[in-house]
């Protein structure tokens, strides 16, 4: 598990001492990494991470100082990601209505609703994780990408500790089921060129 930053260890930042610029400099890379895992491409991850800190700047007064600023930022990020997914779904449904009225054109170009995702993400397990239910997906990202402890994940997701463990367990089980449905074996993953596969099953 990745080492967590020092302030992640339940260090409480008083709201008066919350330096927005310093916080941005300190946490942008990690928030961007989580956004990249969630979005699947660095461009959307940039937007999502920057918007996270803009929300921090605008709503810093709402930060109660009861938790670490780190978990609070993750909460903002996940809320923004949820909003983006909802918008994307609505946009896709609208475009689907338009396409249904057009004559069938089985071209090879991707549709206008196709998400831009980088190949590294598509080949990774995170592409499958994105198909899981929201709660499981968020728990898996916070645990295995960001290395948060169970109680920190419970704090971010605002749910009991047992729920976090259940979501992680069932998220992994759902991931395994998805792979079985795709006819893949876990030993064939990943397919990164040049990567040492000796640790894989």
């Amino acid at each position: 598990m990745r080492n967590r930053p020092a302030d992640c260890l339940h260090k409480v930042v008083p709201v008066e001492l919350l330096n927005i610029d310093e916080t941005t400099q300190q946490h942008f890379a990690r928030i961007h990494r989580a956004a990249l895992v969630l979005c699947g491409n660095p461009w959307d991850a940039d937007d999502l991470a920057q918007e996270t800190f803009l929300v921090l700047a605008r709503q810093g007064g709402n930060f109660q100082g009861r938790s670490s600023i780190y978990t609070w930022l993750y909460g903002i990020l996940l809320n923004l990601d949820r909003r983006e997914r909802r918008r994307y779904g609505m946009r896709r449904r609208k475009l689907r209505v338009l396409w249904d009225n057009q004559p069938a054109d089985h071209g090879t170009t991707p549709g206008a609703d196709a998400k831009a995702e980088v190949s590294e993400w598509k080949k990774s397990l995170w592409a499958r994780v994105s198909l899981l239910p929201e709660g499981q997906r968020q728990a898996l990202v916070l645990r295995f990408s960001e290395g948060l402890a169970y109680d920190e994940i419970a704090e971010v997701l605002e749910c009991p500790l047992g729920t976090v463990k259940s979501r992680i367990f069932h998220g992994l089980a759902g991931l395994r089921r998805l792979m079985e449905e795709e006819g893949e074996e876990s030993r064939q993953l990943p397919a990164y060129p040049g990567e040492d596969l000796s640790h894989a099953i």
Binding site: T24, Q25, R33, A49, K165, S166, F169
Partner: protein, 179 residues
């Protein structure tokens, strides 16, 4: 044999004594793979540097939102002021609600000599009454006193709220009612 049911919850994740998840080997491998994939993605698309336009934008947004950021002491003062104002408003409302029935109960006695307040049918029926026959001589027509109207005095204490409000609406504008 004692009844000792063992509840089985197949949906509950396996947890060891320390409260940590005990994942099967295949799920542990998946978890490890997820961690490796995340590290690989982060290495492929690093974001070590904060975008140049973000810091001024964040500073500007923070400056705009700064009045909303208050210290706990100021928030406490503000909440106490709000509670005080709310208490004062409730007390004023209570005083008014208590004084209204009191004033209404004293109203018939004080307004007995003022029929324009307590009578339901005002002067309109009289104004519409047919004029007296002109051939009855030049005897002046006695002006009816207000005394007979006393039989139409309503007991305001028996009126409901809407009825009382309607009665007040029917009064002339010049009449002033104070509580």
């Amino acid at each position: 044999m004692p009844f000792d049911p063992k509840l089985i919850h197949p949906d509950e994740p396996p947890v060891n004594g320390a409260g940590d998840l005990e994942l099967p080997d295949d799920l542990s491998a998946l978890a490890e793979q997820l961690t490796d994939d995340a590290a690989h993605l982060a290495a492929s698309y690093p974001a070590e540097l904060v975008p140049a336009e973000l810091v001024p934008a964040v500073s500007q947004a923070a400056a705009v939102a700064r009045p909303a950021i208050q210290s706990p002491a100021r928030r406490g003062l503000r909440s106490r002021t709000g509670v005080a104002l709310l208490t004062a408003a409730v007390a004023a409302g209570l005083a008014i609600s208590l004084s209204v029935p009191l004033a209404v109960s004293q109203w018939p006695a004080s307004s007995a000599g003022n029929p324009s307040v307590a009578t339901a049918p005002p002067a309109a029926p009289e104004a519409e009454a047919p004029p007296a026959a002109p051939n009855q001589g030049d005897e002046p027509v006695p002006i009816k006193s207000a005394a007979p109207r006393s039989q139409t005095v309503l007991s305001l204490t028996e009126l409901s709220g809407p009825e009382l409000e309607a009665l007040l609406d029917l009064q002339p504008v010049s009449a002033s009612v104070s509580f």
